[in-house]
Subunit: 346 residues, 2 copies
């Protein structure tokens, strides 16, 4: 590995400067990505390994990022499991046969991963194209976040149907979560075997829950995934948004790195998580729209809160938005490297 | 006042049992409210003092609640300020001329309250109808939450335009916040003079901000409102959702009672806020969909975390949803009273 800052930081080892990558770093804010999307649908890009690998490399070829992440979508396991998924233009994902009762959950297939071979194939191709420049991250959605899409039939404001199943049909809920946990464990193992050098579990919407509900209805299933993957020996990142009150419990569920959003100051988050665990974050993606001196002030603030302690991976608190000024993305990456290198020296 | 539990709890004075009211307690989950809404639009109900007072009393006549809250909407100041507001059926509020630049902010009128006399009138009528059974709460939206609607033109997922103005046009932002702060201060003072015995400031969406941004872009304006109303001598509640990481700063901004959502356990929230300040919350509104034994377990858990300490007002973490089973609302109110009375005795 030519640049192993990211992997070192995942293991809380010292680095020359803070590694940085951005969620959705391959996305609409890049003209080269928009050019490909003009010709192919989202699902086509994901399902064609050559294209997925090509998109994965786009931000790496343009910016001095410290990690690549395979281009895919957390909802890819839905179709082979029996969920009729569509990416409606401008509306986000739509599931045409949402899962609302026990029979529907029972019908879901616990796929063994063969159906998602195209992701493994894309990982292999991306690894070869990366040629050891930076490590490649694999990823999957976490059971709660996947369940919320499967039950609501798309994104949601208050997770009414999800919580109704959780509270009123706990057996159905746990069966659904168990199915997702088993599918995701196999899928992530397959990604690691195919060459993913770290993995990230996205529990993007779990922050809508109380801590008590997290512990009762989510944690055991997430734990199963992290336990099941431990012996694979790659660093595992556990990410969510709106999780300020449940960081300790997310840490207990598993992960070598805890991803935190911008709502909580990084030093407070790290204090809660414990300094023996790495943290990833936590610039507000919207802060990239600010004038550059303001971006710098914010990058500096996060690095100051990380205090040069080994085990910080710089990232946004959530994905880059499509209208983000691309030159601000470039500038932010440079700021992280330069300001943190100065911090290491001093 | 026949029942002054709520006012006592706001002042952290001991009570015989924990007072309870619910945000949106006058709402679609009640058949008598739906019957009125079938005949009148939302804005008609708000603008006709007889109807607004009637709706305010509906939950009080049905349930042994410990406070009434005037029926109104946080966006009522928009029209007289120059914002063209519409409640589109099933879509939430739409502002047809959103405020996106300095000139648009400059054009907004700092109304003196006369235009909202109908709310004061409704408060007077509701007070007379309540006949001292329970206290009446007045309310307004907080500057950030109002600004987000004014800028985005409705509700928002990531507050892109709001944060863009905040970060890129700070002078425009602060002018907008200052205008809202002045309007709201006058409007709440008017409500108090008309008979509101407590007020609540709804900063419902402020939890999308980092703590740093809250302190820089929001806190000073909120502080102005609470400072301006202090000498009126009524208890003031300061409410937001998703605020687990900023409760200390919200407390610093002002309020005798801090409203907290379900994401953070009540004892942790109270510890952060400080036990010299009252707290309000914090049952997940979705928990009211659970079977009654499960509702009871959750009510009990919150009361246990409040530990019988004076200064707890039981509420939801956000408004009641329209499809909530009405008999669960009734049951939850009873549980709060009975379980907390037992706690006081023991």
């Amino acid at each position: 590995m030519i640049n192993d800052r990211f992997l070192k930081a995942c293991r809380c080892e010292p680095v020359d400067c803070t590694p940085v990558w951005f969620m959705r770093q391959a996305g609409r804010y890049m003209p080269e990505y928009r050019a490909l999307r003009a010709k192919h649908s989202m699902l086509e890009l994901c399902k064609t390994p050559e294209l997925a690998a090509q998109v994965t490399l786009q931000p790496i070829d343009r910016f001095p990022l410290d990690a690549a992440i395979i281009f895919a979508d957390i909802l890819l396991p839905f179709e082979p499991m029996g969920l009729n998924l569509e990416f409606a233009e401008g509306e986000g994902p739509v599931i045409h046969n949402p899962v609302r009762d026990h029979a529907a959950v029972e019908r879901l297939s616990v796929i063994d991963g063969g159906e998602l071979n195209y992701v493994a194939e894309a990982i292999g191709q991306a690894r070869r194209a990366l040629n050891a420049r930076v490590p490649l991250i694999g990823f999957a959605g976490a059971p709660f976040t996947l369940a919320s899409y499967a039950i609501e039939g798309g994104s949601s404001r208050n997770y009414l149907l999800t919580k109704q199943m959780m509270y009123c049909e706990p057996k159905t809920w746990h069966l659904l979560m168990d199915k997702f946990a088993r599918v995701i464990t196999g899928y992530l193992r397959q990604q690691i075997k195919a060459g993913a050098q770290a993995i990230q579990l996205f529990d993007s919407w779990v922050g809508c829950l109380s801590v008590g509900d997290y512990v009762e209805y989510v944690l055991p299933h997430v734990q199963l995934i992290f336990e099941g993957l431990k012996r694979e020996g790659v660093p595992m990142i556990h990410f969510g948004t709106g999780t300020s009150a449940m960081l300790r419990q997310m840490r207990a569920a598993g992960g070598d790195v805890i991803g935190v959003d911008w709502r909580i100051p990084l030093d407070e988050a790290w204090e809660i998580v414990g300094h023996d665990t790495a943290v990833q974050g936590n610039l507000d993606p919207l802060a990239l729209y600010a004038p550059l001196p303001e971006v710098e002030r914010r990058v500096e603030d996060i690095l100051r809160r990380a205090a040069g302690r080994p085990g910080h991976i710089f990232n946004l608190g959530h994905g880059i938005l499509p209208t983000t000024p691309i030159e601000h993305v470039a500038a932010a990456i440079d700021m992280v490297h330069k300001l943190s290198a100065r911090q290491v020296k001093s």
